[in-house]
């Protein structure tokens, strides 16, 4: 009994502290807006992204990556091995290493595929994290709490998609221009794409979707039968990364 009371108290104390903390330091935490939801906020049962490879141009300067990394203060670290990536590119054979077809249409063999966190419906990273610093929201977004992460990198070992980056060094000197609307990170924590939850919360589409001039990135509610993502997926041939692992990614690639 004693224990339960204590736990309840601690929980209450924790929530109060959190509320006060976020209230007073507006902009310091990623989820500020959750406390006073914006009436314009975009909501979904399960957010999903469709990458239409037919529209994703080879010679495109990839405004999407630039927009994403600028919006989220992602550092530009020159050495690839220490690099931080939220949205990045890999050739077909690396993006889909389990596809063993011998003959791949030229277009796909040459083209780089846009990769990001898959926001899995059954995320192995969330299972692995020992502190719940990474967690799945009701709307399917897999989030990171940069303030709770201990930097054990179990999530990186657990993620089958290489979607997670670790801040091997202080990222701040490597940020081209700091966006004050989004927190910067310190060294020693893991980060990844957050499906622009901070933008959805104020009624804006993800930065990459907004930046894409070709309409190759489509974002919407997978569980809403009237949504654009749903209509496209019903109509066109699409693939997902490593579907046999049972993670149920929320990112789809139109290849037909």
């Amino acid at each position: 009994m004693m224990d339960m009371e204590r736990r309840k108290f601690l929980k209450f104390a924790g929530i109060s502290a959190l509320t006060l903390g976020t209230g007073f330091c507006t902009g310091s935490a990623e989820s500020t807006s959750d406390m006073w939801p914006d009436p314009k906020a975009l909501k979904a049962k399960r957010w999903a992204m469709v990458v239409d490879m037919g529209r994703c141009r080879e010679d495109c300067p990839k405004h999407c990556i630039e927009a994403c990394h600028a919006a989220h203060n992602v550092p530009y670290i020159p050495s690839a091995e220490d690099g931080v990536k939220w949205l990045f590119e890999k050739p077909y054979k690396n993006a889909f290493p389990d596809q063993q077809e011998r003959i791949v249409p030229d277009k796909f063999r040459r083209q780089e595929f846009l990769l990001l966190c898959n926001h899995c419906d059954n995320p192995p990273c969330v299972r692995a994290c020992p502190t719940q610093a990474t967690f799945k929201r009701e709307d399917g977004i897999v989030m990171m709490d940069f303030h709770r992460c201990i930097g054990c990198r179990f999530c990186m070992a657990a993620c089958p998609y290489g979607a997670r980056s670790f801040n091997f060094r202080d990222p701040r000197p490597f940020i081209k221009q700091i966006n004050p609307a989004f927190p910067t990170r310190s060294k020693g924590v893991v980060e990844k794409c957050n499906f622009c939850q901070e933008r959805l919360a104020v009624g804006q589409p993800p930065a990459c979707v907004e930046a894409c001039k070709e309409g190759a990135l489509i974002f919407g509610d997978l569980d809403d039968s009237g949504s654009e993502v749903r209509r496209i997926l019903l109509r066109k041939t699409h693939i997902q990364r490593k579907p046999s692992l049972g993670t149920y990614p929320s990112v789809f690639y139109i290849v037909g």
Binding site: K93, P97, R148, I150, F166, F168, G188, V190, G246
Partner: protein, 398 residues
């Protein structure tokens, strides 16, 4: 407290040894402070190989720690009296090893100051959370059991009654602790090299080979340096345990090879191909892997020969060979190769950097320091009782 004073009385060799260890621990602490300030980029770790030397040492040393059950079980449950003087050595080795593994896992953290977030936010579905629970518990159990049993002996009294249930608890606790260490790896969907149900059994057998092999080496060293005699029968029993565990290890490894190469599933073969033959011109770990296989196989062959077991020098050499092989496997390749190739089927090798290696050596020196002090106490109590003299590492105390 009075028992701890025994650690403060020792000869020249004892103090020199402690001094050397402290110097190493101190200088590697400086290197660690450099890593702490700079971040983990000073290691060879990368986006592709995100776990390396530290986590591998953690894994290996948890194994050494739990292997004390190979002594505790026969001694306390089956009343195998030959382990009379070996039990405390095994338990104190366990204490040192658990501390070492906890230090390694903390050293690997990006935010070590936030370590307490693990108990503050208990996460039942995370194997790392359970591992922390079981390891700290195991540390406590071994400290309490080892120390209480030794204090009782010092006062010529039987150990208190409450100790026995704790000892019995420590046995399944040890097996569980290492099983959970294996489950950290065995449940990761994208790393087929780890994704194998035999991971936990193999972890246990490599532990039960590495621990007893190390105990033979340590017990022989103590025998040479002090009047404390752990006993020939105890050594022989440990040699047998090592042999059986090594055979099981190779059997399990053979099964891993079969599943990978007979099924021909690329993702299951690739890491093994990388270790055995190299992939796309990347072969940094190939010689190590072959040394591992050859050393374990030759240790098995040598341990079958009665003259090896009977000659202490040959036995210690054989145990060193076995231990080296086991360390290469579980202390390096087993962790690292799961990241090679990475999730994109690309190859990025992992060479540890010198700061990383120095920190690693320093942590092992810390372990050696702890074990030396604990052994000094144990030997003073036990040796004092049996020989009527207080002896220590490196000669007689005043």
């Amino acid at each position: 407290v009075s028992m701890f004073e025994k650690a403060l009385r020792g000869g020249r060799v004892y103090w020199t040894w402690l001094g050397v260890l402290i110097a190493f621990v101190g200088s590697s602490l400086l290197v660690y402070l450099y890593q702490y300030r700079q971040g983990l980029w000073v290691t060879g770790l990368s986006r592709d190989v995100s776990w390396g030397l530290y986590i591998a040492q953690f894994t290996f040393m948890v194994g050494v720690a739990v292997s004390s059950v190979m002594v505790v079980l026969p001694y306390y449950v089956y009343n195998f009296r030959a382990f009379d003087r070996m039990a405390v050595l095994a338990q104190f080795l366990a204490v040192g090893s658990v501390i070492v593994s906890l230090v390694f896992v903390t050293t690997d953290l990006g935010k070590p100051m936030r370590l307490l977030n693990v108990p503050l936010h208990p996460t039942l579905h995370s194997m790392l959370f359970w591992d922390m629970v079981f390891l700290t518990g195991y540390l406590g159990l071994n400290l309490v059991i080892g120390w209480t049993a030794l204090s009782a002996e010092e006062q010529d009294a039987p150990p208190p009654g409450w100790l026995r249930p704790l000892i019995y608890l420590s046995i399944p606790w040890a097996a569980s602790a290492h099983t959970i260490t294996a489950l950290i790896y065995a449940g990761t969907p994208g790393r087929e090299f780890w994704l194998t149900a035999i991971m936990a059994p193999r972890f246990l057998v490599t532990a039960f080979a590495a621990g007893p092999a190390l105990l033979i080496i340590l017990a022989t060293t103590i025998e040479k340096l002090t009047v404390f005699k752990p006993g020939e029968q105890a050594i022989q029993k440990l040699a047998t345990i090592t042999l059986y565990a090594l055979i099981l290890d190779m059997f399990f490894l053979g099964l891993e090879f079969f599943t990978a190469f007979y099924s021909q599933i690329p993702r299951h073969m690739e890491s093994f191909r990388y270790l055995l033959f190299g992939l796309g011109g990347n072969s940094a770990m190939v010689p190590w892997y072959w040394i591992m296989i050859i050393s374990i196989l030759s240790a098995i062959a040598l341990l079958f020969i009665p003259s090896t077991r009977k000659s202490r020098v040959r036995l210690v050499v054989t145990c060193t060979i076995a231990f080296t092989g086991l360390w290469i496997d579980k202390g390096f390749t087993l962790v690292v190769a799961a990241f090679i190739p990475n999730t994109f089927n690309q190859i990025k090798e992992y060479p540890p950097t010198s700061p990383e290696i120095m920190i690693t050596l320093g942590i092992y020196c810390l372990g050696a320091l702890i074990v030396t002090v604990l052994y000094k106490v144990a030997i003073s109590v036990k040796g004092g009782r049996e020989e009527g003299v207080i002896s220590g590492k490196g000669g007689k105390a005043p």
